[in-house]
């Protein structure tokens, strides 16, 4: 069964450093998403991406964040200058074109620790 993959599984970085989290969505999917889960809290929507541009973003997704689909398979989330409060689990998801099911498939997540 096709699945969303994410690398690395755990990333440790120092405050102020740039990080790039990588995701490989399911191959025939056209919509891509990033979500964040701070430890002990609920999962929060960050951004959706379609046709090489951002469809929607939350208030969390400020100028420090950016997303990119650099090639036909990868989808990345970049945090320009990490802060302590960016420590969280980051989930990538993908979905097919706008169908009646609108089901998103989630990756296993990348745990980001900012020290």
């Amino acid at each position: 069964e096709p699945e969303v993959t994410q690398t690395p599984s755990h990333q440790v970085t120092q405050m102020g450093q740039e990080v790039i989290l990588r995701c490989v969505p399911i191959s025939n999917h056209l919509y891509f998403y990033w979500y964040r889960q701070i430890l002990g809290q609920k999962v929060e929507f960050l951004v959706s991406f379609y046709n090489n541009e951002i469809s929607e973003k939350s208030e969390i997704f400020d100028d420090q964040f950016s997303v990119e689909r650099p090639d036909g398979s990868n989808f990345t989330l970049k945090i320009r200058s990490t802060k302590l409060e960016d420590s969280a689990m980051y989930f990538c998801a993908s979905s097919e074109a706008r169908t009646s099911t609108r089901e998103q498939y989630f990756g296993p997540g990348t745990r980001l620790t900012v020290t």
Binding site: Y31, Y35, K42, S48, S55
Partner: protein, 115 residues
């Protein structure tokens, strides 16, 4: 704004007992509803989903959920829990954005199983 409420933060159930996890949503139209499960340190696994039709939906691992429009509820049930069901359970609604979906998660219910 759409919201999802899970009133129970933590529930403990004896192995073999029945389970019901509560979920209420706030949404103007017919929602797309989901239940996800997250085991410690793991990603999000879809248990079941409701889009339309039969209001009682069956999912994986013996779970089911019932959509009740009059009560704005989508409670998750299982007739007999197993120790492996211990996890965090998230109810979620798809907020139908203009071009892409956006999943809004509840705060989660942690399920513990008493031997």
């Amino acid at each position: 704004a759409q919201s999802v409420t899970q009133p129970d933060i933590h529930i403990t159930v004896s192995e073999g007992a029945s389970l019901e996890l509560r979920c209420n949503y706030s949404y103007g139209a017919t929602p797309y509803l989901f239940w996800y499960v997250q085991s410690p340190g793991q990603g999000l696994q879809l248990l079941l989903k409701y889009f339309s039709g039969d209001t009682l939906v069956q999912g994986i691992k013996g779970f089911e959920a019932e959509f009740k429009r009059s009560q704005s509820s989508f409670n998750l049930r299982k007739p007999s829990v197993h120790w492996s069901d211990a996890a965090e359970y998230f109810c979620a609604v798809d907020e139908l954005g203009s071009s892409a979906s956006k999943i809004i998660f509840g705060s989660g219910t942690r399920l513990s199983i008493r031997p």
